[in-house]
């Protein structure tokens, strides 16, 4: 058998070392709150990577990521009510999110640019109303916050925080590796061509519709996976927070701060967002205001994000060269 091994440069060794460290951290006694920070970091990273794939690389400014997260969460919780184990629920949630993406792609893919953004903005709003009206299973507990379909995850005690941490880590690493592969594949090239000019791409033989659809469905799938894992941790779901615009806001913020259209951007941006998240936890009342302001300021002052900004400097470029040299 002839397997081409990945070429071991310093960057890859460094990445592997970081991943190993992250795997063992909860076992060697990292404080629980730090495990939680990292857990959220992994989930947001996976989601932000997918938003970067859609908005940064495919020109699809999707404002309906919350729909995928909420639907995956609901699928997980409802399956748990039917006595189905979590791992099946996670996969089931991701699949439901992907199928939903496929369904709404029929109308929203007729829209382009800003129309697409508005079309997708409507989706989580409509879902929230539906889930406020409709109880998919059981009478549920009356009087729970959120009215409508508020559900507690059944048998939530079965999974430890460390296991969830590893699940989240796997998804985050997978999403980073996946982005690396996809951007160097034919799909990535095609997406870049579409983003730059879709009619030129189409006339050069790129199947615009299919490529965009693949990106959209893949984005929904992985966002759904991360969303389902989040709801195992949360172990409770209700429509108002599940389909909340805050989800989308967090992902946009992470991507824009780090740098859209850069691979490293979402990683750096998500670190900033998670730190912000916990710094602002004490001021929950004004956190959205501050995040909104940061979004506006970053967009105006450093629209290319932290990574895009750093790339302009020779020092950073030589550092990068040093790290990746074999």
């Amino acid at each position: 058998m002839n397997i081409t091994l990945p070429q071991w440069n310093r960057g890859l060794i460094f990445a592997a070392a970081v991943i190993v460290l992250l795997i063992v951290l909860p076992v060697i006694g990292l404080p629980l709150n730090w495990v939680l920070y990292l857990f959220l970091f992994f989930l947001y990273l996976a989601m932000a990577n997918m938003w970067n794939l859609l908005a940064g690389y495919s020109g699809l400014i999707s404002l309906c990521q919350a729909a995928f997260i909420g639907l995956a969460g609901y699928t997980l919780v409802i399956l748990s009510w039917m006595g189905i184990p979590f791992y099946v629920g996670i996969i089931g949630g991701a699949i439901v999110a992907a199928i939903f993406a496929l369904l709404i792609s029929i109308p929203v893919f007729r829209l382009s640019g800003i129309y697409f953004a508005i079309g997708t903005l409507v989706v989580p709003e409509a879902l929230r109303i539906i889930f406020l009206l409709w109880r998919p299973v059981g009478g549920g507990q009356e009087g729970l916050a959120g009215g409508g379909a508020g559900y507690v995850l059944k048998g939530a005690t079965g999974v430890s925080m460390t296991e969830l941490y590893w699940f989240a880590l796997i998804i985050a690493v997978a999403s980073v590796v996946f982005m690396r592969i996809i951007l160097r594949s034919k799909l990535g090239l095609g997406l870049a061509a579409i983003r730059d000019n879709d009619s030129t791409a189409a006339s050069s033989g790129v199947n615009v519709f299919r490529l965009k659809l693949s990106a959209f469905v893949i984005g929904a799938l992985i966002t759904g996976l991360a969303g389902a894992i989040f709801y195992i941790y949360q172990s409770y779901i209700e429509p108002i927070s599940a389909f909340n615009i805050r989800w989308t806001m967090t992902l946009i913020l992470a991507t824009v701060i780090g740098g859209m259209r850069t691979e490293e951007g979402p990683i750096i941006g998500t670190i900033v967002v998670v730190i912000l998240h916990f710094l602002l936890a004490r001021y929950a009342g004004i956190s959205l205001l501050i995040q909104g302001l940061i979004l506006v300021i970053v967009m105006l002052v450093v629209p290319q994000g932290i990574m895009g900004y750093l790339r302009q400097f020779q020092v950073y470029r030589s550092l990068l060269q040093f790290v990746t040299r074999r």
């Binding site: 129309y115 205001l289 909104g292 967009m299």
Partner: protein, 290 residues
């Protein structure tokens, strides 16, 4: 709102048509900004609700009548609009395609959270004495505010049309929206014109906000619903088509009142969203559009 007092279908139909006036009013500001700057202001709904809150503040703190409070509300929102265009959007246009959209999204969140801090997440409403009164139209009784919505919409639309047609600034806005470069060559300061256009759109939004507050209760999170409605009206009516905007508003108003009539008040917004979504899918360029 109690729907069960109306056993007749004519009531929801008339109400829907009158409500169309309110929706057209809400959509007018979005349509103006969209038409002139080619920007879909995703903060529009939140700005409308901000208008409602300003009237609420004037009413509760100073005892002003909501409609009279527009004396303050219009200048305040005009300045906000002027500032957004001058200091934020003007620069954003030069950055990238998605920059104005994301900045508007940021503004929307800031306004939402701001309203929540100042006025709490609770549902509020503008309830002067006349808000509860009804008038008779044949056999049906309708709230007076619905009629006020309709009248206000007609007045604002006629005023806007005359303004765009007759004044220098109106003509400049028209020219800048048709061809920015040519307008500049004719000696129009297009940057300033844009800022004024945004300001005027927001002044109309202030009016829409007051009538919205008289008609429906609102929360800091209401903005998105009204953005979707406004957007639906613009799609239905086509850009710069005042009659189309009015008809578009009426269609959405009917979707809401008939949806509420047949399926219960809790579902009413769902039908509006669904209609907008289908419209987007079928004819994104608008029914009455080019």
């Amino acid at each position: 709102m109690t729907w069960d007092i109306f056993t007749d279908l004519s009531a929801p139909i008339v109400m829907g048509l009158l409500l169309g006036g309110l929706y057209a009013l809400i959509a007018l500001g979005l349509s103006l900004v969209f038409g002139v700057m080619k920007l879909i202001n995703v903060a529009h709904g939140d700005l409308v609700v901000l208008g409602s809150y300003l009237a609420y503040a004037a009413m509760t703190l100073l005892g002003f009548d909501p409609i009279l409070s527009l004396v303050m509300g219009i200048p305040v929102l005009f300045l906000i609009g002027y500032g957004i265009q001058k200091f934020l959007m003007q620069r954003a246009f030069g950055i990238s395609m998605e920059a104005p959209l994301l900045i508007a999204f940021g503004i929307s969140l800031v306004i939402q959270n701001f309203a929540q801090i100042i006025w709490s997440p609770m549902s509020r409403g503008l309830n002067p004495s006349y808000a509860m009164e009804t008038f008779n139209l044949g056999v049906i009784h309708l709230p007076v505010v619905y009629l006020l919505d309709f009248i206000a919409a007609i007045i604002v639309m006629l005023a806007l049309r005359e303004f765009l047609k007759r004044t220098y600034l109106g003509k400049a806005i028209n020219a800048a929206s048709q061809d920015n470069r040519a307008a500049q060559l004719m000696g129009i300061n297009t940057e300033r014109t844009y800022a004024f256009a945004f300001g005027i759109a927001m002044a109309i939004t202030a009016i829409a906000g007051v009538f919205l507050g008289l008609t429906f209760p609102f929360t800091p999170q209401s903005g998105i619903s009204f953005l979707v409605i406004a957007f639906g009206v613009v799609i239905l009516g086509g850009l710069g088509n005042i009659l189309g905007t009015f008809i578009g508003g009426m269609i959405l108003g009917l979707a809401q009142t008939l949806g509420a009539y047949f399926f219960g008040a809790a579902t009413q917004m769902l039908w509006v969203f669904l209609l907008v979504f289908i419209l987007l899918a079928v004819r994104p360029q608008g029914i009455f559009g080019r």
